[in-house]
Subunit: 401 residues, 2 copies
């Protein structure tokens, strides 16, 4: 069962970034996630890796037949060439790649590219059409610019951990690497808008994205709540700070998520769970009052929900048009009919380990195919000959470069 | 203290999307977050709101002098015009706006635009250059397409809640509305790459983003872990599933985050906390072994960390080059020197309530200003005359349209 969009009769291969050549110097997560998205959008992504070991993610589990499934899910659709950027000869090959490229992406610590004589000033002078995107822990300026960072560090430093977890409970990380992934996404926005800018003006831009900055940009209403009330927002379990009912509620066998964002939905919800009286209760007459009395409300709701299982309630609430969900595990997600219909679980055929499933591309375009099978991630240096030949670069083995 | 990027002598106003006109039909969060980003990148964003009440976010707190600080932080830099899209006259004004626009963005439930006779087929025929971006709970196809969704619903349905929280603990939401925000980000990637595509081919695209799909795309290594091991990943508190030490550790007064992603960093960390013997311990010799013995490792680390406060440890670990952080509250974030240096807390001057602080733009370009002050969010319909005049649209009051 693959995706079928309602509109758009003609479908083309690739995507809106067809024809764009990206030279990808990134490792592990924020950078590779950005270039994965660009590859899904039709760009050709050439991954430049350190000889012998390659991208650090090749050493991060889980492994299947000694290949990292983690690496594979982040690098499908890309090509690999191994270059040692500390060696002149390989740096010359890189320059030949860059001379033909539209974009270079790197996620080294600030200053590393300059030390390799590959900083923005150098590259911009030599390759004036080349867009340069840097994604790093703290960005290319400011007092922390040379500090090391990992996802967990920016989740903690940027405030999202202070909002995640149970009230008074132990520290809780967002369960996926949102520090890296969000930085990859903002960088992809930066690059694609810079490609548009270049198409209009001829000018290439440098983009400087900091993982910490991106965390701040995700704080959403927490900043406004703090500045307005003066009280420091903390974690609230599963509930929303200013909408009720909007929480996880206990049922006979587990939990159900209910998000009743306005009075109309609250009435519909109350009626559906056999609690018509809740909708008449003066304590719950408005969203503001429901937020003030959120614990009593939860207690009253859970007394009613105890009568059925989660699956039964989902059925009832779905019919009543109340936004609801079970708390799906990863296993549930992969077999969800909507997720499958939208082609969000795709397959890559690996020559050694066979078909591997992974997340698909969530940006659907009417005019482009959304293939169910995407090319597997490359082995280290697997595409060297093809890359050099296709770009008309003569190999170092035979010639001076 | 505002941002100063190292490179780029000339600085221009706006950003790479200068000259792009966006007609924004979106409400509350996913859509407005997308168009906020586009505004920060230089696009002109005209927000079309329902007469009288406007965007629902105007009714969501916190409030300052009866104005929603929540609305204001999501809609700074945009212009507002009130149109009732169910009325012919107003729909004609909308068409005149769309005739001059590059992009229309909407986040109605699937089918709503068709009912208004404003679906993609209609708009594409009438305005062939117009890029159409839709962001909805479940997308414009599949069995759930007409179901209602809120952030919490897709967080639960898409699996991220099953990975967030304490082992065996109660359900835990990511503390900000990552279901909405990530969909807004993916939509922004879609739009800016579609602008590039149009610049190359002349063709306008329809973009269809589902909040649920975006959650699946954020599951990261959880899918690979489940498919490789067959065991369903659950929440792990603050720790990483496959790297150790990578967790929140108790100190004398609170917690410290340590992310020691490889053997070298582990040795450096062990030495810095006076636990050189840990680096020699065969139970902790490799990252794999440290993950297998992660609880003993945490116990041994916390025994050493009990000797000092978090602030003291940050000092020590910073000097040793070990990635670390305190768990910052929102208040800490707003006063962090790196956050301030990078201009991630900006000000908008509101005529009624004065200066309001909010998150800045995390995509920094060398060639464009990153102003510390951005225009305030508009009152409902505040820009009607200016919008119509600037686009050469004659007003409905005086003329037949």
């Amino acid at each position: 069962m693959t995706s079928q969009m309602a509109t758009g009769p003609k479908r083309a291969a690739g995507g809106p970034l067809n024809g764009v050549l990206v030279i990808d110097l990134t490792r592990v997560l924020a950078g590779p996630y950005c270039t994965l998205l660009m590859s899904d959008l039709g760009a050709r992504v050439i991954k430049v890796e350190i000889p012998e070991t390659g991208d650090d993610a090749r050493q991060i589990g889980p492994f299947i037949k000694q290949k990292s499934a983690y690496f594979m899910s982040l690098n499908r659709g890309k090509e690999s060439i191994a270059l040692n950027l500390k060696i002149d000869r390989d740096r010359q090959i890189l320059h030949q790649l860059l001379a033909r490229a539209d974009v270079v992406v790197e996620n080294f610590r600030s200053g590393t590219m300059d030390k390799l004589n590959l900083g923005w000033d150098t590259l911009h002078e030599r390759h004036p059409r080349l867009i340069y995107a840097a994604v790093s822990g703290f960005g290319h300026s400011g007092p922390y610019q040379s500090k090391p960072a990992y996802d967990l560090v920016v989740q903690a430093m940027g405030g999202i951990m202070s909002l995640t977890g149970q009230e008074g409970g132990p520290p809780t990380r967002v369960g996926t690497s949102i520090g890296d992934l969000s930085a990859g996404l903002f960088t992809a926005v930066g690059i694609s808008s810079a490609l548009y800018h270049r198409s209009q003006t001829g000018e290439a831009l440098k983009i400087d994205v900091s993982m910490l900055d991106c965390q701040v940009a995700l704080l959403e209403n927490a900043i406004a709540r703090y500045l307005t009330t003066g009280s420091v927002p903390g974690p609230l379990g599963a509930r929303h700070p200013s909408i009720a009912p909007f929480d996880a509620y206990t049922t006979d066998d587990s939990h159900v998520i209910v998000a009743a964002g306005n009075n109309n939905l609250f009435e519909r919800f109350a009626k559906a769970i056999g609690g018509r009286q809740l909708a008449q209760d003066p304590r719950y007459a408005t969203n503001d009052l429901r937020c003030q009395n959120v614990e009593e409300l939860k207690h009253d709701i859970e007394a009613l929900l105890a009568r059925h299982t989660t699956a039964q309630w989902i059925d009832i609430l779905d019919k009543a048009g109340v936004p609801c969900s079970p708390i799906n595990t990863v296993s549930d997600v992969l077999s969800d009919e909507q997720v499958k219909y939208r082609n969000m679980v795709i397959t890559t055929p690996d020559p050694i380990i066979g078909d591997i499933k992974m997340a698909g591309n969530p940006i659907k375009f009417d005019r482009f195919d959304d293939p169910h099978t995407r090319p597997a991630a490359p082995d280290l240096d697997a595409d060297r000959q093809r890359i050099l030949a296709s770009l008309g670069i003569e190999t170092a083995k035979k010639e001076e470069i």
